[in-house]
Subunit: 309 residues, 2 copies
């Protein structure tokens, strides 16, 4: 199997596992007001590629960890990502009507419920993070090895910090403030490192911590994740310029039209692509010492470089 | 000292301790975009009475626990409460221009930043919840007894569940849906139990768990907290009818003007007051078996009944 076939099979397998877990983990519809429940499900199952959970699981795998007890953490990352999209799309923020080819949450459910669905998903992420994966372990008759509580607290600490004021939310605040005020390259990189990079980097790091990796490995994977996070944002910017809007499920060219400063508008398309390659190569280099179990991490890095949507 | 003087001294002492801790705990301004940092501080220090942290600490005290290591948990409850107020006040939600006599977050910072400040406070609550209180312990040269990690995870689980889709956010979703659709008494009670009651009840329960109380005590305190939460909401509704708007820092009478269904509008003012007394008495009765260390919990219950703002 060549890398491309492997990647396709791997991503589709993992997406399926993550989707199933998300279905199980979202709060029961009997315990949640009907329309809030619908709004939460609508956005969680709106066709996300589950990159953050998959990265978390791939990092875990690269360190020889067991996937089952890490599923709540992987899924919590997706809930945090989904909440951030719902709030970013709001009229007061980016005011986007479509995402992944579907009307955004506030277009379907109204602004109030979209705000609350985002709040609920963020909060439920921490419900998930603080619970051990008991049911699944029992069902599979595995040894019910619960992750050490200290390790789980460390993961919550890392994820909350990456998602909070000094991470993802901070990046969004910088982004809306900057708007058309033309940040320079440093400013742009800072926004991206926080807004997109922090959650992707912490997904990888959380996987390593959960697997019980040593500090060296955690550090290497952190470097991998940081480069990958920036690469992911650059590839997003590039797709906004030259992506196929049918594949993307949203209008492309919007950054140029709105005068938004991005890697391509600041550096030119070719230089932006060169930067993307640079970060992907740095990511792959950071995990050079890992054995073949890191293959998924390596091919995901290449995928970021070549993705079409 | 009579109960009234005791209560005043107690509340003012605890408010000061909580305020100082919140100052220390909010993320450093060097790590957070300037305007996001300002918006977070603006709402956290807008004159809140710190009822939830104080209840958490009082429950802890009633069970003989040590206050210092529980401060991050107490403060996290206040951050969650503050975020919920910011989002509730948004134009898409209750559209309130003033709270506690000051312009609401979105009036000062704009809608986008108000949404983000709320998101950031909710997330920072979990940063706090997942970290041990190391600095303070070291500074006071106490034995650095870290709360058992399992206990802290249980507290995160309880608080996240109470704040999430099946708790506070769910209550707000019911509330905006119901609006003028005249819920019956059961419906109203359900909204209140979730929207206000859940976070107050969990504040008390978290204090008991942190103190290492046995299941009986936790259960009794949970009953206390549940009644207190409903009592608190009824007193809010009553103050909206007959409170002094200068003391309240916001316009009163708005519920009647907007046709909102509340305890007084549904039951009449006198019956609402009777319900309030009932819940306060049930709360106090639930902790009858506790010794004198539960005095603060007892006087706080009376305070809910008699508060003027």
């Amino acid at each position: 199997m060549n890398n491309e076939d492997f990647l396709e099979a791997y991503l589709s397998d993992r997406q399926k596992i993550v989707d199933e877990a998300l279905q199980r983990y979202l709060p029961d519809e009997n315990n949640v007001p009907h329309d809030l429940h619908n709004a939460m499900h609508y956005s969680v199952f709106a066709g996300g590629k589950r990159i953050r959970p998959i990265l978390c699981l791939a990092a875990l795998e690269a360190c020889g960890g067991d996937m089952a007890p890490a599923m709540p953490v992987a899924c919590a990352l997706e809930l945090i990502h989904t909440y951030s999209l719902i709030h970013d799309d709001l009229p007061a923020m980016d005011n986007d009507d479509f995402r992944r080819g579907k009307p955004t949450s506030h277009k379907v459910f109204g602004e109030a419920l979209a705000i609350l669905a985002g709040d609920a998903l963020l909060t439920e992420a921490f419900v998930l993070l603080s619970r051990a994966e008991k049911v699944r372990l029992a069902a599979e008759k595995r040894l019910a090895v619960r992750l050490a509580a200290e390790k789980r607290l460390a993961v919550i600490q890392e994820i909350a910090s990456a998602a909070g004021a000094a991470g993802m939310v901070g990046g969004q605040a910088l982004d809306i403030r900057t708007g058309k005020n033309s940040p320079d390259f440093e400013g742009l990189q800072c926004i991206h490192r926080l807004k997109t990079g922090a959650l992707i980097a912490v997904a990888v790091k959380a996987g390593a911590i959960l697997a019980g990796a040593n500090d060296d490995k955690i550090q290497s994977l952190n470097v991998y994740g940081s480069h990958l996070g920036i690469a992911f944002q650059i590839s997003d910017d590039i797709l906004n310029v030259e992506g196929d809007s049918r594949l993307m499920g949203k209008q492309t060219g919007s950054d140029v039209a709105s005068g938004k400063v991005t890697y391509p508008t600041l550096l030119g398309l070719e230089n932006a692509k060169a930067k993307l390659v640079e970060h992907v190569e740095s990511a792959v280099a950071a995990i050079e010492a890992f054995d073949s179990r890191a293959l998924p991490l390596r091919v995901i890095a290449r995928y970021i470089m070549e993705r079409k949507s």
